[in-house]
């Protein structure tokens, strides 16, 4: 045996220290997002999927505890929601999909493998538009959540309430180029998920979890291009955290490269944790590239088919999505700012659309009806937008009959509706001082009716009628009634 083999002088790699001021750096960011679906039951059993603040191990059964002999039966709704989410992200849906086993050991992984999708996920090749920059989505696949390890006094307790809760994993291509863009991507994803009502997508509660993978493309002025080693960042629990972690990591990688000159290769991907208190990432695992999960098709679940017809049926259940709403609002000549703000949340946008509907009703209800009665064509010159705005601004003080009357008056004579309302006493008086005065008058003038009221509270109706008469119809009847009742107590 030649011992000298081991004595060959070891050549150290040359340290490349760069202080190249003109060096151009471009962050490369991909996001893996896990979304917990809010289905009633878990992914593969009938247990309740609710696990937030639930007594430990109360939502469990042989299946989600991974007991011997137990078998998974896929939740149809969860699969359909995954497809729905895929469609909302512009994905194509695989006609035949199947589940696979991802084998690894972890105490809260009941079966020793996670049921997920690898080769044939439900949804592939989608995209999300972030301010005109198209971010490609590789896939949206279905899987199950694991249990939870709870560390107490130096020992670890296992809670399987979360075991088997349906998760959709949405994997982007590494197309994002800044922490801000990543944040916008997540905001938009969250918006879409909430619009289609498949999850609360709450990052703080853990129903939406995000793992950024970051590295940096470095171009020197000599034209050389290198990539820094990939780092996957775990345990980021807020949107701000995601941004901060990405920003920290970008800077760290550039600094690291400047000091050691190590570029990305197939074996130096690392996993880093996020420490929100110290505002920095830290090394968790090295050589992530070599992890081997021994995937193979899940023999307990036959392949799942979504025919083109079924996919179209699911597509029909999609509501109008934020992007479509923004386009629509802009076409109503709203500003970019307003359109975006209105579309941000489905509750907000539906309030706006309701208001829009009211205006439509006003126009169609009051003017169209009148026109139809006279069998005449609408004269657009007679529509005064400012008048409409005036009517809306005082809507709460006007009865619906008054609103119709004002609208019609504006159209027919061009009269300012507010002036008209004032002149004709159409404003309802809700001012309690004024109403009290009217009420006192009524009480004084009607002793008999007061007696009746004492015997039968329903007799208040007559008194309210008198109040309306005294106020010449200007009183808000509901407020008037309340004041009468108060005075007669």
């Amino acid at each position: 045996m030649n011992q000298n083999i081991f004595l060959v002088h070891h050549v150290k790699p040359v340290k490349i220290v760069r202080h190249d001021k003109t060096m151009k750096t471009t962050p490369i960011i991909g996001l893996e997002v896990h979304v917990e679906l809010k289905t009633k039951s878990k992914m593969f059993c009938g247990c309740s999927a609710d696990h937030f603040h639930v007594e430990a191990n109360t939502h469990t059964c042989p299946v989600c505890l991974g007991l011997p002999g137990a078998l998974p039966v896929p939740n149809k709704t969860a699969c359909e929601w995954c497809v729905k989410l895929g469609l909302a992200l512009g994905c194509s849906i695989n006609e035949e999909s199947f589940f696979e086993r991802k084998n690894y050991f972890y105490p809260d992984l009941a079966k020793g493998y996670q049921i997920t999708q690898l080769q044939k996920p439900f949804a592939v090749n989608g995209k999300l538009d972030i301010d005109g920059h198209e971010i490609r989505i590789n896939r949206a696949h279905m899987e199950e959540d694991t249990g939870k390890s709870v560390h107490v006094d130096g020992s670890t307790l296992l809670d399987f309430n979360r075991s088997g809760v349906p998760l959709v994993e949405i994997v982007s291509e590494p197309d994002l180029i800044s922490a801000l863009e990543a944040k916008k991507y997540l905001n938009k994803l969250q918006q879409i998920i909430r619009y289609i009502e498949v999850s609360d997508a709450d990052i703080e509660k853990g129903s939406m979890r995000c793992e950024p993978t970051v590295n940096v493309k470095i171009e020197t002025d000599s034209g050389e291009v290198v990539y820094t080693p990939l780092a996957e960042i775990k345990n980021v629990a807020s949107l701000t955290g995601v941004m901060n972690a990405i920003d920290f990591e970008i800077k760290r990688q550039i600094d690291q490269y400047q000091s050691d000159g190590v570029a990305k290769n197939s074996t130096n991907k690392t996993t880093r944790g996020w420490d929100a208190d110290k505002n920095q990432t830290f090394l968790q695992r090295e050589k992530e590239g070599s992890a081997d999960y021994r995937y193979f098709p899940e023999p307990d679940i036959p392949p799942i088919t979504f025919t083109k017809v079924q996919v179209e049926e699911i597509r029909k259940t999609l509501p109008e999505l934020p992007d479509q709403k923004i386009t629509k609002y802009k076409s109503l000549s709203l500003s970019d700012y307003d359109a975006n703000l209105l579309a941000q949340d489905s509750v907000f946008s539906s309030a706006f659309e309701k208001a829009l509907n009211n205006s439509a009703n006003l126009l169609n209800g009051a003017i169209r009806t009148a026109l139809n009665e006279n069998q005449s064509e609408i004269d657009l010159n007679k529509i005064n937008a400012t008048h409409f705005q005036d009517i809306f601004s005082k809507k709460s003080e006007l009865s619906s009959t008054a609103i119709k009357q004002l609208t019609l008056e504006s159209y027919n004579s061009g009269t300012n509706p507010l002036t008209f309302a004032k002149d004709n006493n159409l404003f309802q008086v809700s001012d309690t001082g004024a109403l009290e005065q009217f009420a006192k008058e009524v009480i004084e003038a009607n002793p008999k009716a007061i007696e009746d009221y004492r015997k039968n509270p329903l007799a208040i109706g007559f008194l309210v009628g008198q109040l309306m008469k005294v106020s010449k119809g200007s009183a808000n009847p509901q407020t008037g009634k309340e004041i009468l009742e108060k005075l007669l107590k």
Binding site: G69, P107, K111, G112, D292, R294, F296, D300, I301
Partner: protein, 465 residues
């Protein structure tokens, strides 16, 4: 009355309903037989005894299996009766729920008298790898009963029970039935729910009956079968029903594959099958020699790869955190399979092993499809030999695969099949005939087997114990 334990299911039902004896007497006679015999035979891992008798006292005998003692392979989860899969890892494991089949059996009034021995985790074809010692063959205690359902087959052959259930992944019902001279009916994959049966190779595991006659097995299968909302791979059909009996086999084409007589075939086995061919011919069947059936040796490789792969994943849950015992309690065979399976699924090897095996599996399925265009059913020996001697599996890590090579192809293809006694060798060990049919055609298997049995006496022979 004596020897109630020797009755068939049919006879026991008649006796109970005509009040010739009670369910307690019937159960007691089986328990007595176990007591006198099982220290040596070792068919049972656990005997329920008092609990079974208590149950027999109050059972409604009008139920389909009311008061009938049954032995259950110890890989079926039974609530409140320990379930070990014959592995010390589960030495003191009490299941929290009943397997679907167990529920059905209980609802049908069956009395579970005990849990039967198997190769640990059902890994084998000898019952020799059980952590609770080997089961012996009732026909000759120097020989093996086969496996992995060796305990169930031996218990039936030795009249320790009236009926039993086993499970087959690739031969584990038919091969021990053949070596023990009883009837083992392996249904189509998915016909009987796998829920609550400890998984071995999930993609072919098929629970099924092991009984004294073809009718008994068919009656038991009727009760075990039917779609199960807890098993996504179960066939979405109502429970299987026995078909009308045929007068003869006229118009049926039965295939005899020449490749099912490999060189190591014992001459008496070949003779026995050829004898069975004559019987079937007399019954009117047309026997067609099949010269182009894929050599069953390919199934050994396919089965080995796929089975090890699935086993390595299925046994991962026994990680030492739950179930009482840690992984050091796994026997050599289980460890060997876990390692081989882990290897064949590993990155860089997956394509060469698992994926290729799946492709060959498809070829095997296609081969059966083609053969069944020519014939209605296929027959052959269950095993190339009669029961081998105790110790034969030692040091033979491929023992099971080689012993089971003639039942592996149909298992891999998910076909229904049966093993029925069709002769004895010169030292008196039974020989089994297997009958296979296309998926979901248990009716054909039953009709042929039943007519064969009605016209022969092999099933009436009993081991002299």
């Amino acid at each position: 009355m004596t020897d109630l334990n020797k009755l068939t299911l049919k006879e026991a039902r008649e006796g109970l309903l005509s009040k010739k004896f009670t369910a307690v007497e019937l159960t007691q006679s089986c328990l007595d037989r176990i007591k006198s015999l099982d220290k040596k035979l070792n068919s049972f891992v656990t005997v329920t005894g008092e609990d079974a008798l208590k149950q027999a006292q109050s059972v409604d005998i009008n139920l389909p299996l009311g008061g009938i003692p049954i032995a259950v392979k110890d890989n079926y989860l039974t609530k409140d009766i320990r379930t070990t899969a014959s592995s010390r890892v589960l030495d003191n494991y009490l299941a929290q729920y009943d397997a679907t089949t167990i529920k059905k059996l209980k609802n049908a009034g069956a009395i579970i008298i005990g849990k039967t021995n198997l190769d640990a985790w059902a890994h084998g074809s000898s019952t020799e790898t059980s952590d609770y010692g080997p089961t012996l063959n009732p026909w000759n205690m120097e020989h093996l009963p086969g496996g992995s359902s060796g305990g169930s087959a031996a218990a039936v052959a030795a009249d320790e029970t009236i009926i039993s259930v086993g499970s087959e992944t690739a031969g584990s019902i038919r091969q021990p039935a053949s070596w023990c001279g009883v009837v083992g009916f392996k249904p189509t994959y998915g016909r009987v729910s796998r829920y609550g049966v400890i998984a071995m190779k999930s993609s072919t595991d098929s629970p099924g009956p092991i009984c004294k006659t073809v009718d008994d097995a068919a009656n038991l299968l009727e009760i075990m079968s039917g779609s199960d909302p807890f098993d996504a791979t179960s066939i979405d059909e109502p429970p299987w029903k026995k078909p009308e009996l045929r007068q003869n086999l006229k118009g049926l084409k039965i295939g005899l594959p020449l490749s099912y007589f490999p060189p190591q075939t014992q001459p008496e086995v070949k003779e026995a099958i050829l004898g069975a061919v004559e019987t079937l011919k007399k019954l009117g069947a047309e026997i067609i020699e099949l010269s182009d059936v894929l050599d069953p040796k390919y199934s050994i490789a396919v089965y080995t790869i796929l089975q090890r792969s699935e086993v390595s994943s299925n046994l991962a849950r026994f990680d030492g955190i739950r179930y009482g015992h840690d992984r050091s309690f796994f026997g050599t065979e289980a460890k060997r399979r876990i390692m081989l399976g882990t290897y064949s699924l590993s990155a860089g090897y997956y394509d060469a092993y698992y994926l290729k095996a799946q492709k060959v599996r498809t070829l095997i399925c296609q081969d059966f499809d083609n053969q069944f265009k020519k014939v209605d059913a296929i027959i052959g020996p269950v095993s190339p030999t009669t029961a081998l001697k105790i110790g034969a599996s030692e040091g033979q890590s491929m023992f099971g695969e080689i012993q089971d090579m003639l039942v592996e192809p149909s298992s891999i293809a998910g076909l229904p099949g049966i093993s029925i006694p069709c002769a004895f060798d010169k030292i008196g060990l039974p020989i089994g005939l297997q009958i296979m049919a296309p998926q979901k055609r248990e009716d054909l298997v039953y009709q042929i087997a039943k007519l064969f049995e009605d016209n022969t006496d092999y099933h009436l022979e009993r081991p002299k114990l």
